[in-house]
Amino acid sequence: MGEELPADLIPSLEAKALEIRRDVIRMTYWAGSGHPGGSLSVTDLLTALVFHELRIDPQRPDAPDRDRLVLSKGHAAPALYAALALRGFLPREELRTLRKLGSRLQGHVDRGKLPAIEAATGCLGQGVGMAVGMALDARLAGRTNRVYAVLGDGECQAGPTWEALMAGGHYKLENLVVLLDRNGYETDGSTEAILGIEPIADKFRAFRFHTIEIDGHDFRQILHALETARATASGPTAIVARTVKGKGVSFMENTHVWHGKAPSKAEAERALIELGIPDTQVAL
């Protein structure tokens, strides 16, 4: 790694990720629907982005030179909302309104409703394309901001994802980073059983992305990969982050069952206990 990280950085990020995971469980329970599995798998990536990597400021959410984050896997909205709330972009009590009528917290992220949501996503295969457009815009305008697209692995079965990656490689967008939350599962089961996407890192390389494979739950590796991406001037970077679907909640891990299902009260409380909430404070 180029420079030493502050000693407290990684423990601090880990603590924030734990808070976000707890919020994901609470929010999907309160909402009665949502996508906990893919929210828990992407939490560490989003934590690293929102609390360390992105140049974003809750006081200046529209600053033209802010970095852009496009959550292409828009169903992981609970994790992003929780991260943005913790970062000061919205009141944390508003997390209770996820998926409720009139809420700014739509089931899939909705640009214009909340600061720091740069693009509406949810219908898959569109986020990287929008990120490529944003990166081209920044280059054309001479802005130094960077663009980060967070991609799901089921979305790698969608042709337009590859159209967009082909464009990112063609235009040598050094200001673009695509992070793949490679948790191995989509709605109906494992990606490799349904329509295999491996060897996924080779595919990114073939599309002219500088490609880094990491453990997507190891902050040291995540930060190092992001730093490497920033230092890569020749073109775009893909970070293939191997993650665990449902990470942090034993009964949600490594299964597709919790892709799009909310926990019951008992399940949510069990999950929160696993996430370190004391028995006495767990009641929802």
Binding site: P64, V70, D110, R111, G112, E118, A119, A120, T121, G122, C123, G125, Q126, G127, V128, G129, M130, A131, V132, G133, M134, A135, L136, D137, A138, L140, A141, G159, P160, E163, A164, M166, A167
Partner: protein, 317 residues
């Protein structure tokens, strides 16, 4: 079929207007998907190569890229054939552009049957229904080159998404180019019958109106180039004044302008409405103008429908 007035290219008018816009708006960007010679965006690309992106055959992602490009504050044009813009890329126009209220102008050429030889795969007759149904979308169908030019400027000046449908064939000039979004152009005054038309069929509407005038029937002709928002007052005035409306469109009668006129009058001022357009079928290869005749939009058919309406109103026997 002989066209009475000098036909001009709508696509050329679009390409030239884009160049003018490029000169006065240094931020405007244009996308195309490997059809820049046909759509004429190449004219812009030659003049402003750094602001022109030919992304190859990937219409869906072109729409997402155009949306992403616009969200930083630019006006962006994206062009390809109508079947790709509204069909292939539909959900990308829907989510990336319209849902984000992105400032992207989708200018689609080769709308309708007048594509001719390429055949039914490429003859887009459902696009107006698809695009009109998108919340926040402005939809324009110019009838001639001057309206194309004016509409290109108009959508550039209006913030938000727009869909402009152009015809491949050259079309005679029928307007004075004084197009405005939301306004219908009354091209001919009349009190016995109204013909509402869009695109290539506006010229046929005027020809039939002229023929009817020879036998003493006075026909009002409205060019409804601004399909959304559309000029509801002008349409209802026509319903009140003439009591019958014939609609002409080179589009499926199920979801196009005829459906719009019928539902609007039905709710506000019911009068007999008849729709001339493409029935519920795909097209086929053929001479462009012969296709219009073959698929129910011949001048004879238009005339017959006009007489049917006049009979219904007791103005003919």
């Amino acid at each position: 079929m002989t066209e009475p007035r000098k036909p001009e290219s709508l696509r050329d008018a679009y390409g030239k207007a884009l160049v003018e816009i490029g000169e006065r708006d240094p931020h405007v960007v244009v996308f195309d998907a490997d059809l820049s010679g046909s759509t004429r965006t190449m004219l812009f690309g030659q003049k402003f190569p750094t602001r022109f992106f030919n992304v190859g055959v990937m219409e869906p992602t072109m729409m997402s890229m155009a949306a992403g490009m616009s969200l930083g504050g630019r006006a962006v044009f994206a062009s390809t054939f109508a079947v790709f813009a509204a069909g292939q890329a539909y959900n990308f126009v829907r989510q990336s552009i319209c849902y984000n209220h992105a400032n992207v102008k989708v200018v689609a050429t080769h709308g309708g049957l007048l594509v001719g030889g390429d055949g039914g795969t490429h003859q887009m007759v459902e696009d107006l229904g698809l695009m009109r149904g998108l919340p926040g979308m402005t939809v324009i169908v110019p009838a001639d080159a001057p309206t194309t030019r004016a509409a290109t400027f108009a959508v550039h000046e209006r913030d938000g998404p727009a869909y402009v449908r152009l015809t491949r064939e050259n079309l005679p000039t029928v307007t004075d180019g004084s197009f405005a979004i939301g306004k219908a152009a009354e091209l001919r005054a009349g009190g016995d019958l109204t013909i509402v038309a869009v695109g290539a069929l506006v010229a046929r509407a005027l020809e039939v109106a002229e023929e009817l005038a020879q036998v003493g029937i006075s026909t009002r002709v409205l060019d409804l180039a601004s399909v959304k928002p559309f000029d509801e007052p002008a349409l209802l005035r026509a319903a009140r004044d003439t009591g019958a409306i014939l609609v002409l469109e080179e589009h499926s009668v199920l979801t196009g302008v005829g459906a719009l006129v019928a539902s609007t009058t039905s709710e506000n001022y019911p009068v007999p409405v008849r729709r001339v357009g493409v029935p519920d079928v795909f097209g086929e290869s053929g001479d462009p103008w012969a296709l219009l005749d073959r698929y129910g939009m011949s001048k004879e058919r238009i005339r017959d429908e006009a007489w049917e309406l006049l009979k219904l109103r007791g103005k003919a026997t």
